[in-house]
Amino acid sequence: MTDLSEVKSLTDAEIMLKITEYDSKALEQLYDRYTPLLYTLIKKIIPEKESAEELLSEVFVIIWRQIDHFDFSTSNVYTWMVTLARNKAIDVKNRSISKVTEEYTDDYEKEKILPKLSPEIESVDLEEVLGMKEKIEGAMKSLTDAQRYVIELSYFEGLDESGIAEKLKIPSSTVKSKLQVAIGNLMKKISKTN
């Protein structure tokens, strides 16, 4: 079993490696590092406090159970964790309104909840991303209100193309182009500042 002080000095990827050996202190360290961010994200999607907490605990159970599916060749812990939490939260939200009725099985979890990251994704960890917080906030502020809103509706509210079209009373094709422009602009801003 790893010592807690030893675990604290490890990188996110090294912690994930320890979790493959079911090292509970490593998982605890991952919990301490990522809980504020993941809880914030989950609560944005599921505002009810107790449900959000329950969901966060389920996310860590999934990590513990499905750690073998983490891609150590790219070792992008940050994006894997955030995407996993977001997928799980959106799934719970969609089930609560009967938008998803498929049985939740191990295969379903692997297919729909576990992130499928690009094999060429650049590795980022939490510390690195937190260091970019101001840049990211600045890039978000640089978008128009409409652009920010469509991103929010899709990413945080989990609305699909037709859902957004219906909500905003605009054609689906317009939703598509608005989302593409918004995320494209965001990418330009963040790349420029980097």
Binding site: D23, P36, E122, M140, M187, I190
Partner: protein
Amino acid sequence: MEKKKAIDLIKLEVLDCLNNADAETLSLSKKVDSDFPWKELGEYQNLAAFLSVALPLEFPVSELKDKVALKLYNMRDEIKAKLDAKRKQDEPPVLIEEETEIIDEEFIVEETNVPVIEEEISPLSVSGRIEQKRTEEISAKSDLRNKATYDKELVEKTVKEYFKFHFEPELKSIRNSMKRNFFISLTLFAISLILIVILFVMG
């Protein structure tokens, strides 16, 4: 598919906003296009994950950590099974082969029912071999038992250490406060006793 078209679909995919037709097109392109923009897909996946950083941070209750620990504790059988499977994968299959050979030999002796000349295989040597096989079987069984015990102990140790880490400081503080309370009660009792004696003497 053109790179630009693929990137346009990637932008929608990372926001989880692809319609079924576009999702199929993109999925096919990932499978067949040798020049699929994987790097750009990674960049946009990272970008989508960055969105959460712009939200004002919120924190769950501190008890949630114990709740997670409890959930993991309840998963100990599942983890044990995974550890067993992992161990079996890592083990060289030599032991199993040896055992199969011995069983085959014995099977032949029993099945063929050919009259055997006592000089060729004496009852002593057959029983000796059976005895040897039994000893090996017992030793193999005991090895397996040891492994199972080891795995069980490993899981229990993991969980116990986790719990120890969480609850030990709390227990320590409770014990300390009990000690303190005991001494305070004792002191108060002594003071009351002295006061009663003084009152009795004065009266």
